[in-house]
């Protein structure tokens, strides 16, 4: 079988026998860089969503590589719920400064303060991010918005395109999705519409971690095991903090934990973990029996179609 010529494909002659194929991570990196450059070439005002989480940090690292030695030709945008852990915000600001980039911050707190949004009874602010996000996109006249979403995260994301057209209300319409062929991306859109772009679409959680290791990418410290005062709610370990508890019936314990995802502190939980460095994290992720969202994100548990509903509304 090895000797046949691949006939139907592109192959006209035998490959050199010594050439090793690019490995999976090299292919994923090349694909992501190609996507960044396509957007830079075709859109007027792209922006990268940057939270300081591991996926958006990898995204930024890839953007830096795509345009090296020139600086990244886009600003960054963070929708800050006001419920972020200090370590993450510090990391965010440090990273922005290191690369000399411009960061636009949309604050959920501002919207609550002036009455445009109302705090939810459960205190969760993730669903409140949509309006500030869409306002920031409109105000900034951004026509392409890079996100760190991966298709392996959730079933509705599995059908997401790499270039995902959003209407002028920021909504995702599954039926209007364009077929995405070869690596030819169609980013055309009407005035007022924008395109969400997901360069990490084909990456898995494990790919992200292995790439972080290969590239020696620096992450916020909360991704690695540390002792923290936490309490249990809905089966998750939440950080005791000024915004979200604990309630009187929720005892606080000091445990060794780490975060697998970074999000609103009131609905993103830590996991019990002893994984203190990248090798240990990779070993843990390889062996994990829970998806990262299932383990740590209450917002996806709201209903079976939770993610699909939020995407239709214009969520990340």
């Amino acid at each position: 079988m090895a000797e046949d010529d691949g006939d139907m494909s592109t192959q006209q002659t035998q490959p050199g026998p010594t050439r090793a194929p690019l490995d999976a991570l090299a292919r994923l990196e090349s694909e992501a860089i190609h996507i960044f450059r396509e957007v830079a070439g075709e859109f007027d005002r792209p922006v990268i969503l940057f939270s300081g989480g591991k996926d958006s940090t990898v995204l930024l690292h890839l953007a830096v590589k795509a345009f090296w030695p020139a600086p990244v030709p886009f600003p960054l945008l963070h929708v800050d719920t006001g419920h972020n852990l200090d370590e993450v915000i510090e990391f965010r600001d440090r990273t922005v400064e290191r690369y000399g980039l411009r960061l636009v911050v949309a604050n959920v707190q501002d919207y609550i303060d002036d009455g445009r949004l109302e705090e939810r009874p459960d205190g969760t602010r993730n669903p409140l991010q949509t309006v500030p996000l869409l306002d920031a996109i409109t105000t900034g006249k951004f026509d392409a918005v890079f996100g760190g979403g991966r298709r392996d995260e959730e079933r509705a994301r599995a059908k997401e395109r790499i270039f995902s057209l959003r209407n002028s209300f920021g909504q995702w319409e599954p039926r209007r999705q364009r077929p995405e062929l070869w690596n030819l991306y169609n980013g055309r859109h009407r005035a007022g519409e924008h395109v969400r772009v997901f360069p990490l679409s084909n990456w898995t959680e494990l790919d992200v971690w292995r790439y972080i290791k290969r590239e020696a990418i620096v992450l916020p410290s909360i991704y690695f095991a540390h002792t923290r005062e936490v309490f249990q709610r809905d089966g998750m370990w939440l950080t005791a903090g000024p915004w979200f508890g604990p309630r009187a019936d929720e005892p606080v314990e000091e445990l060794t934990v780490r975060y697998r995802t970074v999000g609103d502190g009131s609905c993103t939980g830590a996991v019990l973990s002893e994984a203190a460095d990248l090798d240990e994290v990779i070993a843990e992720v390889s062996a994990s029996r829970l998806t990262e969202r299932g383990a740590t994100r209450a917002d996806d548990r709201l209903s079976e179609a939770a993610m699909e509903d939020r995407k239709r509304e214009g969520y990340f």
């Binding site: 079988m1 090895a2 046949d4 010529d5 691949g6 006939d7 139907m8 494909s9 592109t10 192959q11 006209q12 002659t13 035998q14 490959p15 050439r19 194929p21 690019l22 490995d23 999976a24 991570l25 090299a26 292919r27 090349s30 860089i33 190609h34 450059r37 396509e38 830079a40 070439g41 590589k65 345009f67 090296w68 030695p69 298709r151 079933r155 599995a158 059908k159 599954p174 999705q177 364009r178 077929p179 062929l181 070869w182 690596n183 169609n186 055309r188 859109h189 009407r190 679409s201 084909n202 898995t204 790919d207 292995r210 290791k213 390889s286 994990s288 299932g294 383990a295 079976e304 179609a305």
Partner: protein, 446 residues
Amino acid sequence: MATTTQDLLRLATAGSVDDGKSTLVGRLLYDTKSVLADTLDAVHRASVDKGLSTPDLSLLVDGLRSEREQGITIDVAYRYFATPRRSFVLADTPGHVQYTRNTVTGASTAQLAVLLVDARKGVLEQTRRHAAVLALLGVPRLVLAVNKIDLVSYDEATFEVIAKEFTDHATALGYPIGSVLSIPVSALVGDNVVERSGHTPWYVGPTLLEHLETVPVEPDPHDAPLRFPVQYVIRTNTAEHTDYRGYAGQVAAGTVRPGDEVVVLPSGLRTTVARVDTPDGELAEAEAGQSVTLVLADDIDISRGDLIAAAVEPPLAVDEFEATLAWLSDKPLRAGARVLVKHGARTVRAVVGELNARFDEQKLTSVPDPTSLELNEIGRVLVRTAEPLPVDDYAVNRRTGAFLVIDAADGSTLAAGLVGAGLQALSTTGSASGASTAGDLVSPGP
């Protein structure tokens, strides 16, 4: 733990409705332990709610609410799994006739396709059609999964008849011996998907997963002449990089080394490659699939959309060419349509001048001079572009022979375009079916 140097196989699945494709994909994920406990819990809960006694594995992959309600897959879903030997990106494409466009989408990047048939029904017309579309799109390898083998009592003769019929069909489409494999499986029970079945002692080949793990990955065409579409011009002026000007792109075919003589199209200007830059250092050589930045010896005018090609074998820049279109829009195509064509990193205005032939998917023959191409139809057309495009024949290079047809008004993607009379596969289908062809799709163009 898996090594970090494993390679990547992109595959697509295709099959008719009710062949159990989602169940097969669910089985692959389930048996490779790619499904984690919470996802599985959700599937168990939903299965119990539907009154089922065993988990419905198709629920693992049918993601959108309307799909779960209708029990069919209506959009391409991408799935990821890995074994210690290989990482997989799987495009799960719908089998419904009206969703053929998704099969085209999934197949466009696939290195291998798994086609499903129901062992009780054998090779159907749609199986043949799917195989033809996969051949047209240049998917190098096929696997026929003869599913529900448990429902024919694991009968070897039934399997052999189906396998032979399919292999003959694939051979007629141009697939050489060794690029097609048939496997008896039961996705529901798990026979020969990941675990070897005790019920098919007569089958000595690999299980589906063993085959996916070991089948040679077709390399990118790096022995072909260089094709490098310029995506973006990187300019900067710093102490470290004075007056830097580099051309960023992904090598679409061939290799590129410092000192290589290249030609820039469409201008036709010649120069040599000074450096192959990456943030990780200069390369002695970059090959197809790598994203790099080329620095050239001479200061010539190059912008996004230009193609840097090997000076010895450059493509022809043409403003009129024959092409095969898979029409993906509800709005039919008629001769004279004004559209946009996106090829490489260049988008140009174009007119579809003539509709020369349409593939009749029912009779598996071709019909000359159709008045229109409707959704999901495949036809041979003449394309005229406002500016010359440096195209290759799709049969020679999937990357530089492919283009999109885009609606200039609303921006939607209208068609997948393949440069050249790529319908050879489809017309062969016609003769293989024994039907007489009204128009020969492989005849040279007018």
